[in-house]
């Protein structure tokens, strides 16, 4: 027994040509789709935004799996756990910010805004 099999067994065993090519082609297709939806499809903007978000999330998953090899580790999946925690923090941060700031905007009456702007001008 030489060392060779041991090396290949424990090396970066997940890399394959097919995964990278597949990931690349899928990403190109998804990017084109998103571009086409944004430029050539009419209709309700909120529906379009939903479709675009879906395409982006799909491409995110494609690249996370095929380029960043997430979820391919054996044993305890620490990388996956860290990524899941990151997603949680990101969602709280982004959704929370938008929610709070919109709410603040909604609750602020025009008079309050004008008074605030005048106080800023005095500075």
């Amino acid at each position: 027994m030489s060392q060779k099999p041991l090396v290949s067994e424990h090396d970066e065993q997940h890399l394959s040509y097919g995964k990278y090519t597949g990931g690349f082609l899928a990403s190109v297709a998804l990017t084109f789709c998103a571009y086409w939806v944004a430029t050539h499809v009419g209709g309700d903007r909120n529906v379009l935004a939903g479709i675009l978000a879906l395409l982006a999330v799909t491409q995110f998953i494609v690249q996370m799996v095929l380029f960043l090899h997430i979820g391919e580790e054996r044993g305890p999946r620490w990388k996956l756990a860290a990524a899941a925690f990151m997603l949680g923090v990101v969602l709280i941060l982004v959704v929370g910010s938008i929610w709070i700031m919109n709410n603040l905007n909604y609750r602020m009456t025009p008079q309050q805004i004008i008074r605030y702007m005048q106080s800023q001008d005095n500075l």
Partner: protein
């Protein structure tokens, strides 16, 4: 199996475990970097409507141009993967070739982006103009800064591969570099969608 080969095998396993730890540590850094980008996305989402009478995204973004930018970065992410495949086969020259292609595509992306910024500023739409433009330049500029550091790192790594060959240390660092580079492409998906495509819809 003699005890000498057994010791060698044990050594290899230890080395492999050390590499895994390093990769995981770098992965945790990438995840925290995600949180940095998330904060900038949140800021952009909240104040991108505040144009202070100036232009909005619909007026200043040129989508075909950004699409070319996007494909340059996507292609560089792919060729970076090809460099990793060559590394797995211990093909030093191919690693250098694909790293070179990745570097050139990355530089093209950066030049396209800087040219875009230059035109915006020249047209009087700099970051000082409005809340929208401040948050736009901060978000996209931070990504561009990451790309810049990635390119510097890539040039250094190409030098290492050239001088030292594909030693274990060099291979480990190349793995980290490829993670970083793929990660930057993942961030760009959301910049492309949320900043440019949503912007062109006037959202």
């Amino acid at each position: 199996m003699s005890s000498a080969t057994e010791t060698a095998a044990l050594e290899l396993r230890r080395e492999h475990e050390a590499t895994e730890k390093t990769v995981f540590g770098f992965w945790v850094y990438l995840m925290t970097d995600c949180v940095l980008f998330a904060s900038l996305f949140a800021v952009y989402a909240v104040i991108h409507g505040n144009t202070y009478g100036g232009p909005s995204g619909k007026d200043i973004f040129k989508l075909p141009y950004v699409l070319i930018e996007t494909f340059a970065l996507l292609a560089s992410s792919f060729t970076c993967g090809l460099a990793m495949l060559s590394m797995q086969r211990h093909a030093k020259k191919q690693v250098l070739f694909w790293l070179g292609v990745t570097f050139l595509l990355g530089v093209s992306f950066l030049c396209l982006e800087l040219n875009e910024f230059h035109h915006l500023v020249a047209d009087g739409n700099s970051w000082r103009q409005s809340g929208f433009l401040s948050s736009y330049f901060t978000l996209v500029g931070t990504h561009g800064l990451h790309i810049t550091f990635g390119l510097i790192w890539m040039a250094i790594m190409a030098g290492y591969v050239w001088k030292r060959g594909l030693t274990d240390t060099v291979r480990k660092r190349l793995m980290l570099l490829s993670l970083f580079w793929h990660f930057l492409d993942v961030i760009w998906i959301f910049i492309f969608t949320i900043v440019y495509l949503y912007g062109s819809l006037g959202l």
